[in-house]
């Protein structure tokens, strides 16, 4: 068996593996109504400063000075556990926002390949950074740098969604001029 033939067979096998992944139902899928509802729910990230404050060493350092090392360790362990749970919420929240951006993509009349690729990259990076943050917390390392990275990513996705929303807004305005958007959509699809 020559190398090219092996490569062909490997390519076919890779396509089959990708097929197995692609036909699995996604973990989360929102309708437009559900996206709206999800956006109006309570935001977990509002608790972020308190969580980070609780992770600061100086916040609990006075206990050591008072000779309460056992209590200090217990409190830090408890706070770390809460922070880890909080990170899961944060990840879920970001994924929900990504879902909303997909809902908007479905409605968009035009999508830029570069923009969509960037957003996919941001989503993957956010998930990876959250995971690394979880490991940093578990290993007792300070998570500040990773929070900075998450901040940058959230900024990027905000800009992308804003520009998508602006395009949709323009379309909505046009549609208002000539009946509802739904009517416009159905006439387009014919």
């Amino acid at each position: 068996m020559t190398l090219p033939l092996l490569l062909f067979m490997a390519s076919a096998a890779a396509v089959i593996l990708l097929l197995v992944w692609a036909v699995r139902p996604p973990r989360m899928s929102l309708t437009t109504e559900e996206a709206l509802e999800a956006l109006s729910q309570e935001r977990h990230y509002a608790r972020l400063p308190q969580i980070l404050q609780s992770l600061r060493e100086e916040d609990t350092e006075f206990m050591r000075a008072r000779g309460q090392s056992d209590l200090l360790a217990q409190i830090r362990e408890e706070r770390k556990r809460i922070a880890l749970r909080y990170l899961n919420y944060l990840l879920e929240e970001f994924q929900m926002l990504a879902e909303c951006s997909r809902v908007m993509a479905k409605l968009a009349p035009e999508l830029s390949a570069k923009g969509e690729f960037e957003r996919l990259k941001e989503n993957l990076r956010f998930a990876l950074t959250c995971r690394s943050l979880q490991w940093r917390l578990r290993l007792g390392l300070q998570p500040w740098d990773s929070f900075g990275t998450l901040s940058d990513m959230a900024g990027t996705i905000t800009l992308q969604l804003e520009s998508a929303a602006a395009r949709l807004g323009e379309r909505a305005l046009q549609a208002t001029g000539s009946g509802s958007l739904a009517n416009q959509g159905s006439s387009n699809s014919q």
Partner: protein, 263 residues
Amino acid sequence: MVEPSYLRDLTWAVTALLQLVVLFFIFRQKLFRWHLAFSAYILATFLQSILVVSAGRYWGVQSMVYFDIAWGLQGLILCARWLAVMEIAKRVLASYTGIWKLASSILFVLCLAIVVYALALSENRWYLAVLNADRAVELAMAVFVVGMLVFTRYYRLSMSDLERQLAIGFTLFSCSWVITNSLFQSPSHTSQTWWDFFQILAFFATLVIWAKAIRKALQYAPRIPAVLLPADRLGELSLETNTRLRELNDRLNHLLHSKDSRT
């Protein structure tokens, strides 16, 4: 031991019968109204097997006339299969204007790249030219269908079970074709009869998937066009998403600055 040619002929006969069964299901469910290209493809494969067997009996399977007829028909079948695949892709993606434009251009470029890759990787022997071209197109088709399914999953687009099963069948058949084609070209390849047998078997397995899906197609509903929001609801969604993301961003930025002031 069973003769390979006997096994091949038996598989061929059973497959031809199954093709008739699939055609019967298509007509009973009136599926041709929604999937005309797919229905035409199944009919064409049935006619192909009848014509190829007749040509083999009349001219002999070693003759040049038989070779021309067999591969000429295979070319036509490939075109019919592409049309059927495109029909599914259009039904699934075309309701979403932005996604359809993006996906069709990406998939087109991807398919071209796959054909170039496959041809560049193939051996440069003239008698393998038809096989190599066929394999390149089959691989491109498998990548196209899987690419379409990836888009569908990524954007959470709705897809009927029938369309999903048809797409799975097309991918598995194309991949099995690529694998058997490569095995046939290997130095220790098995006989032509075994090659025929495996390819017929792969098609048989694909037909089983399709027959099951079409039989259940009583539950099949014609594609519902994508529901587009009225302008005010759309504005509301955009506003909510932006506000929420801005808040997330502000919070995280605040944290970033508090870190800076700390250090």
